[in-house]
């Protein structure tokens, strides 16, 4: 009896499937998707186009935006706050406005008013990597406080039990959110670990030569330092040079943070220049942007409606957990677009 019922059910199901086939071909998705997205303009304004993160973002964004029939453009302020502001102003007032503006802000305040104006003009604004005093349609990037915590934990582990517990910081500057929050995160962890303390905290102003000079002084003043945390891999080559010059590679564990590019980070972990690097998963971060672009353009919501934080998962990578795919390769990404 049971077998007969099963058989009958199966027969009925297959009959239903057969008759349903022609109707299923009409999926409304692709139509909605292409109506909302094709021809839409996405503009990326990083602090500069010349460094690994920006080039990585641009490569993936270009690939995706072009694929959905949109137009992808970048502007290169080349580290100039004014040039960036000008690029954004132009975008807002231009005849063909971008639909989504992806901006890496140089500090907390410079672009806040401009970006509000962009939202009023009907442009979605996504802030990337650097937070600012402004409610974007989404913030995509690192939780810099958490990043600082991870750095401090890596430094503590690098120092190890029974070490001097002296940690030196090479901060970036005193205006950039990434530097301020990183510092807060580091102090957060160190206050819970009283055996470790910060003995000096000079600024590099993100310049490698300055980083080298201040680290040299720091190591001379505090010869027992067991770890140095430099706030960016863009200038940590200076701190590394100071440690190398002092012949203290075995004693001082250098921690920094970066975009996880092969030559900038993994190669340097591999050859022992950096002890640990807190890296951003660039591909994940960029695909988060892509998802948001696709979502916002179909949402029908006005710019400025909501302001979620989409943090990218961060990891402190050391030589022990270095894998072939720990880093991404800029050359390979650029090859994707035939550049």
């Amino acid at each position: 009896m049971k077998m007969i019922r099963t058989f009958l059910t199966a027969a009925a199901m297959s009959a239903a499937t057969l008759t349903a086939v022609p109707a299923v071909a009409q999926d409304p998705g692709p139509m909605t998707y292409s109506e909302a997205l094709s021809g839409k303009r996405v503009l990326l304004v990083p602090m500069a186009m010349g460094f690994d993160l920006a080039q990585g973002w641009a490569a993936i964004l270009e690939h995706e935006v072009t694929a959905f029939g949109g137009v992808f453009e970048t502007r290169d302020p080349n580290w100039s706050v004014e040039a960036g502001a000008q690029a954004i102003t132009e975008a807002i007032s231009s005849e063909v406005k971008p639909d989504v503006l992806i901006v890496m802000s140089p500090d907390m305040n410079s672009y806040s008013k401009l970006l509000k104006r962009a939202q009023k003009a009907g442009i979605y604004v996504i802030l990337v990597d650097n937070p600012a005093n402004f409610k974007p349609d989404a913030y995509v990037g690192s939780d810099w406080t958490q990043l600082g915590r991870l750095e401090a934990e890596a430094a503590i582990e690098g120092c190890g039990e029974g070490s001097s517990g002296q940690i030196g910081l090479v901060q970036g500057d005193q205006v950039n959110a990434t530097s301020l929050f990183q510092y807060a995160g580091i102090m957060d962890v160190l206050s819970a670990n009283p055996a470790f303390e910060v003995v000096a905290k000079p600024d590099s102003n993100w310049d490698a030569t300055t980083s080298r000079n201040v680290t040299t002084t720091m190591l001379q003043q505090h010869p027992d330092i067991c770890a140095v945390i430099d706030f960016w891999d863009g200038d940590a080559s200076g701190a590394a040079a100071a440690i190398r010059d002092a012949g203290m590679q075995d004693q001082v564990f250098l921690v920094t943070t970066g975009g996880g590019e092969q030559a900038a980070d993994c190669d340097m972990i591999e050859n022992g220049t950096y002890g640990a690097v807190v890296m951003t998963n660039l591909a994940q971060e960029t695909y988060n942007m892509v998802t948001l672009v696709k979502y916002l353009l179909q949402s029908g919501q006005a710019p400025g409606t909501s302001s979620p934080y989409i943090y990218t998962l961060l990891d402190a990578t050391t030589k022990d957990d270095l894998k072939p795919d720990s880093c991404w390769d800029l050359k390979a990404l650029q090859a994707m677009n035939g550049n």
């Binding site: 010349g50 460094f51 100039s80 005193q174 310049d207 490698a208 030569t209 863009g234 080559s237 040079a241």
Partner: protein, 328 residues
């Protein structure tokens, strides 16, 4: 007695004021800051200003001849970045070096030619050529801001080179200072630099080759910039072209003029550069030891510099005899 004291005070020109300030800071720091007056720290002070000092030497030759070279930092960073990129792309070392050397030479010649023969003001020529060098190299010749030194290359070895635990760039700074001193003081063309800077028209009227000499000075400053770039890469094992946007250029001008080389040309020498560099080096080092945040460091640095300039203005007022046409 009093007049004697007063005349002594009148002797204090800008160079001596800066020297006195530098010595005062040095003495205070030696007493107050533990670890300041130690051999390693003194070496690191000299080292920290070596590259800056070398750049300032190149700048001073141009400034004494009544010019200015604002393209130095661009030449320094971009030439070496291009060189490292060529090496990374697998070009043979000597070919790459020769190519970049030719490029540097060409920019120096171009600067000099435009100033000397096309009579364009130096400030515009070098501002434009600096932007051109940066823009062209950055967009056409290299692929990212930072270019690493290939593993095991001689530049990386150079950075690790020490004699009596003193880094190589300190010796190079000393040698170049000596060479520059001899050139300016004892060679005919060196003396001509002063005459041409003091009064170009008179210098020309008495038959000095004013224009070829002008070209030479910009070539010298371009080559010094290239040397400074190589030393930077040697120490950091990479060059970051972002330095072009930093305040380095102003620091070079600062070190050059703070020691007493007038922007109006015709006066000063290597000693002034050394005094200016010493002040900056000592000040920055002391402030780093005290752990003063960068914002305050800039404030303190600029205040001391302003004070030195104001004192010079009070003690050596400009009048019709000391002022020159073309003062900036």
């Amino acid at each position: 007695m009093e007049s004697n004291w007063l005349s002594r005070l009148k002797d204090l020109n800008q160079e001596r004021i800066v020297l006195v300030v530098a010595v005062l800071i040095f003495a205070t720091a030696s007493v107050a800051l533990p670890g300041f007056f130690s051999a390693p720290n003194l070496i690191s002070i000299v080292r920290s200003i070596s590259v800056l000092g070398i750049l300032a030497l190149g700048m001073s030759v141009v400034v004494i001849g009544r010019g200015i070279d604002l393209s130095m930092v661009a030449i320094m960073a971009m030439s070496v970045a291009w060189y490292l990129q060529l090496l990374g792309d697998g070009m043979a070392d000597h070919t790459a070096l020769l190519l970049v050397f030719a490029g540097v030479l060409a920019i120096g010649l171009l600067n000099g030619f435009l100033v000397a023969y096309a009579d364009v003001p130096a400030i515009f020529v070098t501002l434009a050529s600096g932007s051109f060098v940066f823009g062209y190299v950055r967009s056409q010749l290299i692929s990212s801001d930072a270019v690493p030194v290939p593993e095991g290359h001689w530049i990386a070895m150079l950075g690790g080179l020490r004699f009596a635990s003193i880094p190589i760039e300190v010796f190079l700074f000393a040698i170049l200072s000596g060479a520059m001193f001899l050139f300016l003081r004892y060679t005919k063309w060196g003396r001509y630099v002063y005459y041409a800077g003091d009064n170009p028209i008179a210098a020309r009227n008495v038959g000095m080759p004013v224009r070829p000499m002008l070209v030479l000075r910009y070539v010298v400053s371009a080559l010094t910039a290239f040397t400074a770039g190589l030393l930077t890469a040697a120490s950091l094992h990479s060059i970051n072209t972002r330095v072009v946007n930093s305040t380095l250029l102003y620091d070079i001008v600062l070190v050059t003029v703070i020691g007493g080389i007038g922007l109006s040309g015709g006066k000063g020498g290597v000693r002034n550069v050394l005094v200016g560099a010493a002040l900056i080096g000592i000040m920055l080092n002391a402030m780093t030891i005290v752990d003063i945040p960068l914002l305050y460091q800039n404030l303190i640095k600029s205040t001391i510099l302003l004070l030195a300039i104001i004192m010079d203005g009070l003690l050596n007022p400009r009048d019709e005899q000391t002022a020159q046409q073309g003062d900036i």
